[in-house]
Symmetry: C5
Subunit: 363 residues, 5 copies
């Protein structure tokens, strides 16, 4: 569906956790990474009940819940970590614009990871993040794919700042991965438009329109998810809850800058797409014009000639059985120079028209 | 009528309550729900005079007046609850943009409930709300239909916060129902546009334009009602009259977010509609181009051939009764290889043109 | 003239009162209404000199000068009531955008009353207002027509607040009458566009473009006068000269709201007009396409058939006087099944083409 | 050149006074007007060295330097009156947007006087103003023409405030003359567009496009110079250097209002021009449609008829020398009612098509 | 590639210095200019290790690193001068929008120098600047070309303020050179558009579209780099780090003004380009219209005539072997005045049509 956006039935009580339909959601898996500068432990649970109690040992914990198929687990999660019910409801409203909300006990961020499906169209996978001190809870639509593998590698390898910093830096790293994931996607657009440009000028066919329309729709989709992302990062930059450290804000500034660069590219590509459509339309209109010209020239020359031939193909007869001859009936046909004169007339009409068309620049 | 908007005659005194024309308005019915956490009482009156006096017992009261046919009752209502005359006048100006006005004794909100009529077009039913401490007065155009049944069910069942909260929460719940009511409506647009996209590309007919135009007008209507709704909720969020509690503001923030998501969808669908029109126009223009090409090719090939056939259909005669023969008159007709040579000439012209058209990519 | 706007010669001293050309302005008439809650006196003078001295008796006075033909009277008026010379100059610059200027001794407001002339086009009549305590001076272009009759009736009847309030309320009442006067005008647009919509889809002719263009120009004109009106009222709302009472500001807020509703309608109608033009263009383009299709189909079918008929109309002869027969010359003509075969060939070409066109959805 | 804009070579030191090329600039002439309320003295010098020393006698002096051909004189002028070198450099960068810059010792204003050249196109003559207490230095491109004659007359006659006020009022008077000079220019556009409207609807030819394009370019040029003018006056209004008196600011407010009115007209005319282009395009498209219709109707009717005539012009023969007759070959030709039946067939086809076209509203 | 923009793989740690691919980057060369008011020393190194230690002698140093092929050298540079790692990462992200970032120890500026390649398209060479007290580090993509030669000359010659000022003035001088470099580039656009205008009106061919599209893309590119440049300079103007002196800010204000003038020109040229496309489209549409007209006129006249000729070319026979004569079969052919009457009919049809077309203004 175009712009899929899940919503509760109008009028249902706010903060109602609406289970997704069967087939829409998969059973959740909990991936937990606990790390401090010295060590890192990864674990994986299939039931929320199995989740261990966390001691307040200064370790940072990342709970990554993949799959939205178990509303009960979500409720328990919310209760245990004091997540706001309205935020939990938003977790289930898939297809949302990215948003940032500051609650008393945590910050809540919704972002969209962009993937291309097999037909090259974009779909967004919604990522919900709950940020608390030393704890980051992320909730993804399913287990299948995400853009965080490089972040996990950095966590495991222990290089860089990531293991030395708190959960706010982890949240930044995930957002940064999501934002930077748009660059290769946009590069694809660049290539596609380059190619299309040549095609539009040389051979503007109906597949051009179709393809261009598709690209524009994808850019529109992309834009819907990228524009608010910038606002989310900006809101994080100016957050005063104290959960985001000054050091992380320097990096978020960098991430903000990237999101601006992406928006800039998206807008540029939208301009390019609009330009290509105009180019296409003028190519087609020029081509129609050229075809018309040829048709006009050929028709204009031959239609009068055919008429003349038609005239001398008429069967008006000079012979008349009961009465005297009809000498007025087509005497040209019996004139010795009739045929050459006729051909000469035709030739002169042709030459006259060619000269005229040449002057009007139709040839 | 397009954009129905009722107005008083220019120059009438402000706060004049103008009765609606006969047939335009139905006799009002008063539905009253009184509730506190423990109990809930529903009652229904057909005359304003029957309305009981309310004691100040901490119960929340929702007076739902359905029908605008009795201007006197409206006046009495205004006097009893100290509603501002200008606000009462606005109640009768149907078809207004949603608005929020803060008066000394109450807050005044105008919203539009959107329905689809049988032909799929939108009409708005105006809802006026007066919010006082423990009292919410709503005024609808008629009794027939509204979007509040789920809210009434939540009131009766007593689940959720609604019975534990004041009249501000009730006002929020109604606004939320109105806003969320737009989501399924917008989903319909999504489906319609999906379908239309295929049709526009494959078979762009005149019904496409008609339908697309209709959708665009409906989106325009929708937008007129949704854009100011956001401002209304925003004004409620920043209201300083003390009538809106902090707790309700958290929920209003959620509702505000929904109204932003809806506006975002409306704008996206407007973009899609504009894109579809462009797609349609380029489809038609391409199709004209293609048809022209076929016509040109066929005409360009056969018009010269027909001319040649015409020439040899002329009746110039070599016989000449009184004088010697006219050997210059169409000797080809009497040449033994005349006909085959003529056919050969025709074939070679055809082949020459086909090659030319192939090169110009017209075939 | 399009956008009539009177201006002084560039470089003339500011505050020069430039007399209007002969025929442009009519001799002024002064209509004076003096009222307090208890009584109301109307009088009418043709000469400024006849105007009585006003005692400071708490009565509100409305001096309505109709006609700009006497620059001297205007000067005297300005001197007597201490009106600013730059404001007086603006009174004579007809066709201005509405504006608000706060001078030391008075507030100065320019508004435009909109009328339709016989051809349905809009013209604005400029109204200049000088607001002082207990005094309102209005200056109109001529005596003929204004939109203030309902206000005068309210004054005479003494109902409502108008007789109990000061000159600021009177100014509000006049502005309100001007603003509300736009609603019926806009309703006309709605009706016209409704009608045009059907016409554009069913029978897009050249009068459509003409009419649509006219409507768009009128909307442009309307917008030029309505947009700044809102700013004028907003400036009045925030005026701190003390001339506007708090009570009147509540009413001005209502009037401001009306001006916003009008602007909203104007913008909506501009969108509708733009949509209609697009609709018209696509209707025409679709119609061209359809006509082309019919032409192409008929031509494509008959041009080849005509060619074949032309071939067998050629006069290549098998008889040859001096030499043996030319059996190669059109033997088909002498074949017993020649004609039926020829007709069969024609029929099969026709059927082949029909099948092809059917497949391409050209039929 | 389109948008002429002079600039220094990139990288040259700032504040470099670049002499204009030969033929580009004329030798400067200094026109000096010294005035106080009682007297006025005009003088004229051709060499900067001849300029007398000015005593601080309370007189206002206006030094009007016409011609930019002598960079040395400009340098000397700058040194003597302490003009900022960056401002002096801007004096030579012709074709600039109007700007305002506040330096320590003076205010610096760049404005553009608009003229129409012989072909009706706009060119701007740059005017640089340096405002000091009791001194106004203006620098024009050449001596030929300016828009200040009415100001000079007001100075000489001594009427109005100009002789009683300081150099700030003089600067205002010049700016006002420049701004008001746009009104008659814009009126010309109004007339041209009125005329063009009729032409576009009745007879849309290629000269329309050419002319319309020209007008649009001129409006673009005008806009480039008028938009920033408003900002300049606004900056003067809010200047806090103390060089602009409160009294002058009242007049500048009036001038600001004029510049807003002009911008409003420019934007309106741009809308009109855009509307005219759309009108033109739809006129042409409608006309193409109409021509197509006629062609289609004529072709569709006669092409089938010609085909039938062609069939009965074929020479299939029933006589066959060596063999028996070929009775299948065109027996219609020998049928007694052949010709009338054929004509009847043709007539019925024609009528059938006419009915069909009538129904499709093509006739 | 369209909009080349280098980026790290999504998810890589921030501040990772990613080496450019082989062939993409050249080995760096360090050009060092040390100067004070009295002396200036230029030196050149190919290895970072060779760079001497700088004493804090009040001299200003400009380290110009040309070439990005050695990531190690960049790292060492960053360590030695305490450049922020995120800034260093940005140095390698080529194709960025200009940006300004204020770090603790230095200001960081990214700008784009615009060049035209052989085909006339723009490419930007990224310039990164690190500004510290008495030190300016600039990093260019390669050694080949830059726009700073006039600045180097001013440094060597010692004229102007440049040798007397600090590193902030040098940074200004470089930015100014970059900004002013756009003026001649834009002048080229002006010339190209002037030329194209004539061509579009006289002979709108397909190369027009191609060229226009190219220009528009180039303007889009230019705009992407020029718009943020203004923001960069504005941020420098309002920088509060103390690294920019008040004197330099006066010059930056001038540079800011230039960047505004350039943006103004870019926007104007974009308008011109859009206008040219519209002009082109209406030229083509008018031309199609004209061609259609000629075709229609010729076809409409000759098609009926040819039909008449065809009718009298039919072979309906009055002779009938076995039966009596068929006098109904084409008696006109045997009528003595048949042929002249037929020609007369044809002539009258022609004249009738010509009159009709003349009236419809098709001739």
């Amino acid at each position: 569906m175009m712009f899929k956006k899940r919503f509760s039935d109008p009028g249902t009580a706010p903060a109602t956790l609406l289970p997704l339909g069967p087939g829409e959601a998969s059973k959740p898996v909990f991936r937990i990474i606990e790390y401090c500068e010295k060590e890192i432990i990864e674990s994986r649970f299939e039931n929320f009940a199995e989740l261990p109690q966390f001691s307040d040992d200064g370790k940072v914990r990342w709970i990554d819940m993949c799959g939205l198929g178990d509303v009960e687990a979500l409720k328990l999660l919310g209760e245990r970590f004091e997540l706001h019910p309205l935020a939990l409801e938003d977790v289930l409203h898939l297809g949302q614009r990215p948003k940032f909300e500051s609650y008393d006990t945590h910050l809540f961020i919704v972002a969209q990871m962009l993937y291309r499906d097999k037909e090259g169209n974009f779909t967004g996978e919604q990522l919900s993040m709950f940020l608390q001190r030393n704890l980051l809870i992320t909730i993804q639509e399913d287990l299948e794919e995400d853009v965080f593998d490089p972040v996990r590698k950095r966590l495991t390898s222990g290089r860089g700042l990531i293991r030395k910093s708190g959960s706010d830096y982890l949240a930044y790293a995930l957002l940064d991965a999501i934002v930077d994931h748009c660059f290769p996607v946009l590069e694809k657009f660049g290539e596609a438009f380059e190619e299309m440009e040549t095609q539009v000028l040389d051979n503007p066919g109906s597949n051009c329109v179709r393809e261009l329309h598709n690209h524009r729709r994808n850019l529109m989709q992309l834009r819907r998810f990228v524009w608010p992302e910038r606002d989310v990062i900006s809101a994080l930059l100016h957050d005063e809850s104290g959960l985001i450290s000054a050091q992380t804000k320097v990096f978020l500034r960098d991430c903000y800058d990237h999101s601006v660069q992406i928006m800039d590219l998206v807008e540029s590509y939208r301009d390019v797409a609009a330009g290509l459509l105009e180019l296409y339309l003028s190519s087609v209109s020029l081509r129609t014009n050229e075809i018309m010209r040829v048709l006009t020239v050929i028709s204009s020359i031959f239609i009068p000639l055919t008429f003349i031939a038609g005239v001398y193909g008429m069967n008006f007869s000079q012979e008349s059985t009961p009465s005297p001859a009809n000498p007025l009936n087509m005497p040209e046909l019996h004139w010795a120079w009739g045929y050459p004169a006729c051909l000469l007339l035709m030739a002169s009409i042709t030459i006259g028209q060619l000269v005229l068309f040449k002057r009007r620049k139709w040839l």
